[in-house]
């Protein structure tokens, strides 16, 4: 299974993270997203006319929407990451998968504006990003009150992975995460999952890493 990938893309990171958590092996095909704009060239437009990444190619199956890709990986290797049979849980997974598209637009848009100097109304993007973070925070507070630590259940699902990267990288777009205690705890829970992988700007919990030691230099 081949992933057209860009290391700094939060949407591609969703796929790498899901694959790592579920033990799926990906063949990575780096895309020169910036400055090359390779994703808008003829070769990649042939795979994804929308001109975005990630793209997954598996035999004759081509997937260009990260939420669909997460479902594909989970369904193959780790169905416990999908919704169970409860109607509420199934609906919540879909609710947050759809919501994740809004995060790509607002927090992702703010980040592209700040990091790659893309045009856009930064004030509006940040305001929409804050509104989305408040919605996520309220959703997580309610889940905690139901005794569930993640967005759709008391276990992580594809919905959590779909929402996590753009939220964790919100500060790159000038949007602070300080005001959201429930998001902070949720992010910690995700970052401490077995098999979690990092991307630039999103780190594993440092306290779970071994204490660094340096040999005193001998003069």
């Amino acid at each position: 299974m081949k992933l057209y990938d860009y290391i700094l893309s939060p949407s591609c990171y969703k796929v790498r993270l899901m694959a790592a958590l579920t033990g799926v092996k990906l063949e990575l095909r780096p895309v020169d997203f910036h400055p090359g704009l390779e994703h808008r060239g003829l070769a990649l437009l042939a795979l994804n006319p929308a001109g975005s990444i990630p793209i997954i190619e598996d035999g004759d199956l081509i997937l260009t929407e990260s939420s669909a890709i997460l479902v594909y990986l989970a369904a193959q290797a780790a169905p416990e990451w999908l919704a169970g049979t409860k109607p509420e849980e199934a609906a919540r997974v879909q609710q947050w998968l759809s919501f994740s598209g809004r995060l790509t637009a607002n927090l992702g848009g703010a980040r592209l504006h700040e990091m790659l100097l893309r045009t856009g109304d930064i004030d509006a993007l940040q305001a929409q990003g804050i509104a989305a973070l408040r919605e996520l925070e309220a959703g997580l507070v309610e889940q905690n009150l139901r005794g569930q630590r993640f967005l759709a259940a008391d276990r992580p699902t594809v919905a959590d992975i779909a929402c996590f990267p753009y939220v964790a990288l919100a500060p790159d777009g000038g949007v602070s995460l300080d005001p959201y205690p429930a998001i902070r705890l949720w992010s910690r829970a995700l970052r401490s999952l077995h098999g979690f992988v990092e991307m630039p700007g999103i780190h594993r919990l440092h306290e779970l890493k071994p204490e660094p030691t340096v040999e005193e230099s001998k003069a």
Binding site: L145, P212, T213, V214
Partner: protein
């Protein structure tokens, strides 16, 4: 201008939002702080500035009984004293390397930090159970207007329409934002707590509307 008289004490966070072995950013009138809880559960508050190169200590991490800076790993004890410099493992860090610390108290599920060395204790909130904290870009006057009720000297507002169930503990910040701790009265169920959280969201929205329109100014 509203002066809330909680003395030197600021309600900075809810206990439940700071599990053992974690650090979070918070604010008091003296500035930004790193609020952390050690593995054994002891609370500390220090200025959010590493004495080494000024990195935010709230970006750091807790290991055992110490707070480590994310940048070069200098570690600080509860007292603020630097106890470890990873690049010089054999060196006992000099006494002079200290992060500034503040008094911190925890009562009824709320964490309070004092601006100066406080001899007093924070206000006691009888019969209130913390639900969640939220930040709003509305000031105290706008929140009072939205709630249809005045704040007490401790910063407690009992919203007129939810007087039997809800109480807001307000803390004005120097950046014009207000930290709201949503507290619940009496017996509650999971359903009533979820309902209360939604009421608080609506109150915040109403307060920010009023703030924008300048009605509360």
């Amino acid at each position: 201008m509203h002066t809330l008289t909680t003395g030197p004490w600021t309600p900075v966070a809810l206990s439940a939002d700071l599990p053992v072995g974690t650090v979070i950013p918070a604010r008091i009138p003296a500035g930004s702080i790193a609020l952390w809880r050690s593995e054994s559960g002891r609370l500390s508050a220090s200025a959010d500035r590493c004495p080494h190169r000024g990195m935010s200590l709230s970006h750091g991490f807790v290991r055992g009984e110490n707070l480590s800076c994310i940048y070069h790993g200098w570690s600080y004890a509860r007292s603020g004293k630097c106890v470890r410099i990873p690049a010089h493992p054999g060196l006992e860090p000099p006494e002079a390397i200290r992060a500034k610390t503040f008094a911190v108290e925890e009562a009824g599920g709320v964490i309070w930090v004092a601006t100066d060395e406080a001899a007093t204790t924070p206000p006691v909130l009888e019969g209130l159970m913390p639900l969640r904290s939220m930040t709003t870009s509305a000031g105290i006057a706008a929140i009072e207007a939205a709630a249809g009720a005045k704040a007490t000297a401790e910063g407690l507002v009992v919203p007129a329409e939810n007087a039997d169930t809800l109480c807001l503990l307000l803390s004005a910040r120097d950046d014009g934002q207000t930290l709201i701790h949503v507290l619940l009265k009496g017996e509650t169920t999971a359903d009533s707590r979820i309902a209360a959280s939604r009421v608080a969201e609506s109150l915040r929205r109403a307060a920010e509307d009023l703030q924008k329109k300048g009605i509360a100014a």
